[in-house]
Symmetry: D2
Subunit: 306 residues, 4 copies
C-alpha cells in the first residue's frame, strides 16, 4: 500500500470508533469541541504527505507544546536544564505532586505538568511574559512553516481561571527554588503555550525535524543536534503519555506526545512525523481513537522504533 | 569503521574506566567477582560477530533472565499474562513494594522483581520446581545455540538464603491471589533463573531473535511473533533498568535489560544484539562501564532506536 | 446513676444496634460468630464490677493481645524495645507495608501488625515457639486472675494458612534485620497470641493494672511501672485503632485497643477498665457497636481522659 | 511541693539546657530571636498561677493559634466543619502535600498547615481579610483577658513573602473546592493569625477554658461546650505535634500544641493550662527544651491525662 492508501484505510477504519472516549471538560472551550472530529496527517522526511478527515481543522495542542518548549529550552540553556528536571518516567498522573515532595521540587521529566512548568520558567529568562509567549508562537510558526498559527486567548484565560493545580505545583517548586520567575508570569506563558491552536498537518510538519536528526529535511534548517533529537525522542518514548507511557510504547512503539485537546504527535525515526486528532480521551488523558489510529497505521506501514 | 573496529575501539576506550562502580555484594559469589572484568559481544542479524575482552567468560545474568522468561511465558500463556502484570515503568527501585499495595498485588511491569516473580509463577504451572528450572535452562541453551549453559547452584542457594525481600514480595502478592503456586516453589525457580551463567557471546546470541522480529535469523526458528518481539523491546525500553530506565533510553537509545551481575543485553532493532559485562554497578544497579560502553558503541555505529 | 445502672442503660440502648457493622470473614472461625452478640464489662480500681449481655462469653481477642505483649516485652527487654518499633500513629491501615519501606523496617508503632510482629519477635528470644506461646497465655491467665483462658487452635491455624500479608511483613522486616528469629517461629507465636479467647469480664480484669498505674489494685501485683503504664496508655490513645485512632480519641476520649474479633479494651485512667464485644466491624476494623457503647458509657459516666 | 516550687524547680533544671535545638530561620524575625529565652507559666482552674523566666515576654505563637481558630470555627460553623477536615494523625510533616492528593483535598486534621488553612477559610466567610484578622485577634484578647495582644506585621509579611508551600497547599485544596475564598485572602488571614504575639502567661490564660470543660473558670464565660472542649483536647493529643504527636503523648501525656516560634500550650484536663516557651526546636518543629520542661513538670506534679 502507498502512504496515501494506508492513511485512507486507517481513517476509514476509525470511522466507526469516532466519538469514543471522553472529551476534556475542565474548561468550556475544550468541552464544546465536537467529539466526532478526526484528523490524521503524515509527512515523510522526503516531503511526501497524506491526510485524512479533519486534518486541516485547528485544535488546542495543549501538552504537545511541551515537546517544542523542551527543544527550545535545550537549545537556549543547554544541558544544564537537566539539573532542574529529570528524564525518568514518573509512574504517576500528569499533575501529581507526590514525587515533587520526595524529590525536593525536581520534577521527574519535562512532560508532566511540573516539569513543563520548569522548562517554561527556564525559557522566560526574566522577559515579560508577552515576549516569551510571542517567542514560542513564532518558533511554532517557523517549525510548521506557516504564519497562520494562533494562540486561543479564551483557552489561555480559562486555564488561568481554573488551573489551581498547576498554580499549586508552581508555588511548590518555587518553595524549593526550582521556579525562579514570578509564578503568575510563568503560568501566564505556560497557559498560553498550551493554548496554541494547530491542525494535524501543521503539527506533523512542525515535528518533522525530530524524524530527521534535528534538521528540517525540507528547509535544511538545523533545529537541534542529532544527539539531542534522539534524546528528545527517547523522553517522548518513556514519558510522553504520563502514567500510560509504557502502554503507548507497547502498542504503538513510537516516540509520541499527547495532549488533552485530543492530539497526538508521533515520530517515526528516520522516516516521518504523524499527527492525529480525535477529542475523546482515555483514562490517562490520551486520545483514545487517536492512539488506536496510530497503532493501526504503524502496523500497516511496518513503522516501529523496534 | 567496521563492526570489529568499532567494538575494538569501544573496548580500548573503556580500559581506563574498568573497575568503576560498585560490585554487588549482597551474596558472596557475586561479591568476589573481579571488578576489572570487561566483556563485549555483538552479533548482527546477518551473523556477523565481534567481541572484546572477557566476552567468553561466563557471569551471572541475574535480571537479564527476565527478558527470556517473559518471552517464554507469553508464548505459553498468551496475552492473558498481562492481566497479572502491567507494562508501565514503575518510577521505583527494583524491589519496591509500595506500588504493589496501592495496585492490589499487580506489579507494574515484568522487569521489576515482583513482576518477574509473577511471570515465573505463571511459568511454573503446577510443575515441580526442578522441571521448570530445567525447562528455562533448556530454552536458554536453545536460544544461545549451545549446551554449555549452566545454572550456578551456589548463587541460587545464596539468593534463597538472603532473599527476604523477594520472599516478602511473593507472599504479598500471594495475599492478593497473584502468586498461585507455593511461594517456596516459585522462588526456587526464580532464584535459579537469576543464577544462570552465560558469557557475552552467548547472551547476545540468545537475544538475537528480538532484533529480527521474533525469528532467529541464523536458524530461522520462530521464537515469538513479530508483534510480540516489538512489544518486548518496548517494555525493555521503558522498564528495562528500574528507576533509571529513562536515563538508559536517553543515553543509549536502545531497548535493554541489565542485571546486578554487571551484564546488559541491548537490542538494535533490525540489526543486532549486544551483550556487555562489567561488574561495577551504578546507583540504580546497572553496570556503570557497561552502559558507558553501549553509549559509545551506539554513537560510533550510528545505532539507535530513534 | 450507679455504675450498674449506667452499664445496663448502655446495654439496653445498644440492643437496637446489634448486628450493625461487618463481621470479619477472612477466616472461617471468625466468619461464623453470631453478629448479634454484645457483651460489656466494667471493673473499677476499687473492685466494683458491672456487666451486661454476653459478658461471660469468650471471643477471639486478636489485636487486643498487642497491649499485653507490649507490656510484657517492655518488662523483659526494657526501653531498648523502642529502637525496633516507633510510637507514632501511622496514618495507614493496620497491615500497610508502605511506611516500612521508607522507614527501613522499623514499624511506626507496636499496634500495627508489623510492630506487633517485632514485639513478638523480641519476646521469642530464641525459645521454641511453644514455650513463648505458653508464656503469653500464662501471663494473660495471671492478669485476668483465672486459669480458664485458652488459645483457639483453629483460629491460630486459620490465620497461619491465610496470613500471607503478615508473612510478607515479617520477611520484609527480616530483610532489614528487624525480625531476628525464623519468620515461621515468630508468626507461629503471633498467630497464637491473636487466637487467645477471653470474655469481657476477663479482658477488663486483665487490663485493670493500666488504670491503676501499673499495679493490679486487687492483688497489689506490680505489673509494670507507673510511668510505663502511662506510656502504654498514651500509645493506645494515639495508635490503638489503626487509621481511625484519631476518631476513637475524638469520640470516646479514652486509651483503647480494638481487635477484629469485635472486642475493645478501654482504660479510664485512675478509675476503671472496660471491655466491650460486638462482632460487627466498621470500615477501619473496630467494633462498630462496641465503639458506640463506649462513647455512650463514657458520656453517662463522665469518664474521659480529657 | 507547691505549684510555685514545682515551676521554679523545672525552670532551674532547664537552665543548663537553654539554647538547645535549632531556632526557626525561614523568616528573619523568627531567626533573630534569642535562643536562650525560656518562659513557663501555669494557671490552674482555681486561678492559682506560677511563672518562671521569660513568662512575660511575648513571642510568635505560630501554629498554637490553630487551637483557637479551630475552637472559633466549630462555634461558628458547627460540626459541619468536619466534612472539610479530618481528625486523624497524618503520620507526616506539618506541610506535607502527599496525603492531600490521595484524599482529594481533605486534610487529615486541623493542626497540619493544610487543615488550618481550611479552618481559616471557613472563618473568613466572605468577609474582608482585615475583618477576620481583627476578629481573631479580639477573640484572643478576650480569652487571655487583656487588650495588649498584638499581631506582628513584620512576621505576617515575611510569612507571606516566603510561604510558597502554604500558597501551594491552598491552591491545591482550591482545586478540590475545599478552599472557597480567594487564596490570597485566606493566606492573608492565616499568616496574620500565626503572627499573633503572646507571652506564656497570656497563652496559658487563653487556653484555660479547655482545662475546664469549655468554660473560662475565672469569668464563667462559656467558650465552647464541654463535649467540644474534650474533643479539641483529643485532637491536640493525637495530632498536636505533626509527625511527633505520638512521641509527645508518650513523654508528656497531655494534650498540647506546639508552634515554630518555640511555644507549647498544654492542657491538664480538669486542672490547669501550661504555656512554655523556648525558641530552639527539635527535628519535628517542637520546642526541644519546652517539651523537656513539660515532661519534667508533669512528672513532678503528677499531672497526666493517663
Amino acid at each position: 500500500m502507498t502512504l496515501a492508501e494506508i492513511v485512507a484505510t486507517v481513517g476509514q477504519e476509525m470511522a466507526g470508533r469516532r466519538g469514543e472516549g471522553v472529551v476534556a471538560d475542565y474548561i468550556p472551550p475544550l468541552a464544546r469541541v465536537d467529539p466526532q472530529r478526526f484528523g490524521l496527517a503524515v509527512i515523510t522526511v522526503d516531503g511526501e504527505t497524506a491526510e485524512f478527515g479533519d486534518a486541516w481543522l485547528a485544535f488546542s495542542i495543549q501538552s504537545i507544546s511541551k515537546v517544542f518548549t523542551l527543544t527550545l529550552a535545550l537549545e537556549r540553556m543547554g544541558e544544564d536544564l537537566w539539573k532542574r528536571v529529570g528524564r525518568e518516567p514518573s509512574g504517576s498522573r500528569f499533575n501529581s505532586i507526590v514525587q515533587l515532595e520526595q524529590e525536593r521540587g525536581i520534577p521527574r521529566n519535562p512532560f508532566i505538568n511540573a516539569g513543563a512548568i520548569v522548562v517554561t520558567d527556564a525559557l522566560l529568562e526574566g522577559r515579560p511574559p508577552a515576549a516569551a509567549i510571542e517567542d514560542i508562537r513564532d518558533v511554532m510558526r517557523g517549525l510548521a512553516d506557516t504564519d497562520s498559527i494562533q494562540i486561543d486567548e479564551e483557552v489561555a484565560a480559562s486555564e488561568a481561571a481554573t488551573g489551581f493545580r498547576n498554580i499549586s505545583l508552581a508555588y511548590f517548586m518555587r518553595g524549593f527554588g526550582n521556579v525562579k520567575n514570578a509564578v503568575d508570569d510563568v503560568l501566564n506563558v505556560y497557559f498560553h503555550q498550551c493554548a496554541i491552536r494547530m491542525n494535524c498537518r501543521q503539527l506533523a510538519r512542525a515535528g518533522l525535524f525530530l524524524a530527521n536528526g534535528g534538521v528540517d529535511p525540507l528547509t535544511s534548517a538545523i533545529v537541534t543536534t542529532s544527539a539531542r533529537a534522539r534524546r528528545i525522542e527517547a523522553v517522548m518514548m518513556t514519558c510522553g503519555h504520563y502514567d500510560a507511557s509504557g502502554e503507548f510504547a507497547f502498542k504503538v512503539g513510537l516516540p509520541g506526545k499527547s495532549g488533552v485537546g485530543g492530539g497526538i504527535l508521533a515520530i517515526v525515526p528516520g522516516r516521518a512525523a504523524i499527527a492525529v486528532w480525535s477529542p475523546g480521551l482515555d483514562q490517562s488523558g490520551t486520545s483514545l481513537v487517536g492512539a488506536l489510529a496510530l497503532e493501526r497505521l504503524v502496523s500497516l506501514a511496518g513503522w516501529s522504533a523496534f
